[in-house]
Symmetry: C2
Subunit: 375 residues, 2 copies
């Protein structure tokens, strides 16, 4: 990260405002990043503001420049992410900036998208625009960590969430788990889903809980509901098969043994219901996430059982953790626990979480943390 010269400190309040604008669309811009922008006239007065609301709609710079109109001429554009230089669903923003007669562009973060990656800034410089980058770079990188992760790895940012009792149980020995957490925590989960592009469960969760997995209308359209099921051992009736509520994708393994009539019947029935079917050569979390990245997902929520959660962790498919702890004791030798086998044999191997935050959800606690990046 570059140090910003003292003379450039004056842009920091404006960049904060641009970051605030960008945050207004948090969770809704996939596969695009969050971007906010402000335009100042030559005297330094605010003349335009904009943010990227969702894919297909104008980029932040374009909105801010349109608001500024003629007053942008000779002025400054302060923007959280490098203006793009490629034609996507909208024309390159760097061209729009040049055409508006902007004299100076102040940027927080260089776009990690290989189609941009500094090319936007170069195009501006070539056109004689003064360019300053790296202002509040760390804040901007944090705000767009989900997008940056997807661009750099080719997989969406994974958030693993579970609810458990204070003795670490996610269900009774019978499988009953409704409800461990209280109404406030369950409402919080709906808000969490609204910030994600897909919600993933395994076949076991569909069989045990028959979940709905929606944001209850908080996000329109609803996040994609995803079932990862190698065997396709899934119930005939399930809330997830009702495509009028939200779309569902079932990712399954390829049949290794040729004809399997039950499996074929299941695929037929799901197809008739309108469920999207995707065969994975390796029916594993990592490959599923590559498919979801290809479908424009920046951030996915793992709401799965212990075995799939452990596999997702082991395959680097989890970057963030959210655990709801209910003040209850459930017990049970055979009762469910949040995570299956991780293969650790000594205490110095276990996963140490980072940047831990805790808060209350009425009677329950919410603990949020990041997974270490060197795993």
């Amino acid at each position: 990260m570059r140090a910003v010269a003292d003379s450039d400190q004056r842009w920091i309040p404006w960049m904060r405002r641009a970051l605030q604008l960008a945050a207004l669309a948090d969770g809704h811009t996939s596969p695009n990043p969050l971007v906010g922008a402000v335009v100042l006239d030559p005297s330094g007065a605010l003349v335009g503001e904009g943010f990227h609301a969702r894919a297909g709609e104008p980029h932040a710079e374009v909105g801010a420049l349109a608001q500024a109109g003629e007053r942008a001429k000779g002025g400054t554009l302060v923007v959280t992410l490098e203006p793009c230089c490629h034609h996507g669903r909208t024309p390159p923003c760097s061209d729009a900036v040049i055409q508006a007669g902007i004299a100076r562009v102040v940027v927080a973060l260089t776009d990690p998208d290989p189609r941009v990656a500094g090319g936007g800034l170069q195009r501006l410089r070539d056109a004689g625009v003064e360019v300053l980058s790296g202002v509040l770079e760390a804040d901007a990188a944090h705000q767009n960590r989900v997008f940056v992760h997807r661009v750099q790895t080719g997989r969406p940012w994974g958030l693993l969430k579970w609810a458990m009792s204070l003795d670490g149980r996610t269900a009774l020995p019978s499988g009953a788990s409704q409800w461990i957490s209280g109404p406030a925590a369950r409402a919080w989960v709906h808000r969490l889903r609204a910030q994600c592009d897909a919600v993933i469960v395994g076949g076991g969760t569909v069989r045990a809980d028959d979940p709905l997995l929606t944001s209850r209308g908080l996000r329109q359209p609803e996040p994609l509901r995803v079932v990862l099921s190698r065997s396709l051992d899934l119930p005939d009736q399930a809330q997830l098969w009702d495509q009028s509520v939200a779309p569902t994708l079932v990712a399954h393994g390829v049949a290794s043994d040729g004809a399997d009539s039950e499996r074929a019947q299941r695929l037929d029935a799901l197809g008739v219901a309108g469920v999207t079917l995707t065969a994975l050569q390796h029916c594993e979390p990592q490959q599923l996430l590559e498919v979801l990245a290809g479908r424009g997902c920046n951030r996915v929520l793992w709401e799965c059982g212990p075995a799939l959660a452990a596999a997702a962790l082991q395959q680097g498919c989890v970057q963030e953790l959210a655990v709801v702890v209910a003040p209850k004791l459930i017990g049970g030798a055979a009762a469910c626990t949040p995570l299956g086998e991780l293969g650790f044999t000594a205490m110095d191997q276990v996963i140490s979480l980072q940047q831990i935050r805790h808060s209350s959800l009425a009677e329950d606690w919410l603990l949020q943390a990041l997974l270490p990046t060197d795993r």
Copy 2:
């Protein structure tokens, strides 16, 4: 609880002071209660303060009256617990109060000890002393909840403590558990032990962890270390057998099958080491606690494995819970969890904790709660 008349509100600040004095000896007065007292002269000026420091030392009232001397005559004694009327290790306090010429006694809580139970107040009234009781009664009952519980049930107050990872594991599948929590949490456990009269583990914990179970000198003498082992399947070498550090009691089942030479050898070896041996007809938590109450324990700490913890909970031997949660993920299908089978078959049967408090111990969290009293 009685309402205190408006005219008696003036005693509340003095009762708060008496409660503060009583708290100075928290965890050190067993089998006696916590008691604090202040003496005011006839003009209402403070002339004496006292608290009960430990069993065998003067009661709070006696200390405060001694400090007040002649100035107590015609004055007021404000005391957190009803003055006793029986000869214990010290003479009855009610007599001392009368002899000192006190005109008025203000009490928070009536002594639940059946040897007192209002008799102390009656004795004072019979001698012409004005008696007012019930001032800050709820605070006093909370402060002495451990003593009140022991007197009412014949068993010490039980505190169950465990440390676990965020995925609810108390050990690796291998049994390794040192250390799940950090240094601050481990130091807190030493302070917790210093507030308890005994620390209880099962044979499995002795075999797996070889714990020391002391307060590391914070309490003198150290709390009694207790092993509940039906089978006496215990290691030959263990830190608990070193009686120079702290005393140890091993409670074991009675041999049902007559001669058992291994068992006899084990008993001999423990006896030679100076360990106290106690045979229990029913080798269960409830009976162990009756034995410990008889040995003067007001509060005991359960630091045991999942099976014994579940048994202690089921037998009503746990009134309070303290859970340290470390920001780590351990996983493991066979890894240890805090509690064994509690026999619940539906979510509305599980234990809901009460009066929950949470705090931080450096990187770890501490969650404390009470068990519901109607269990």
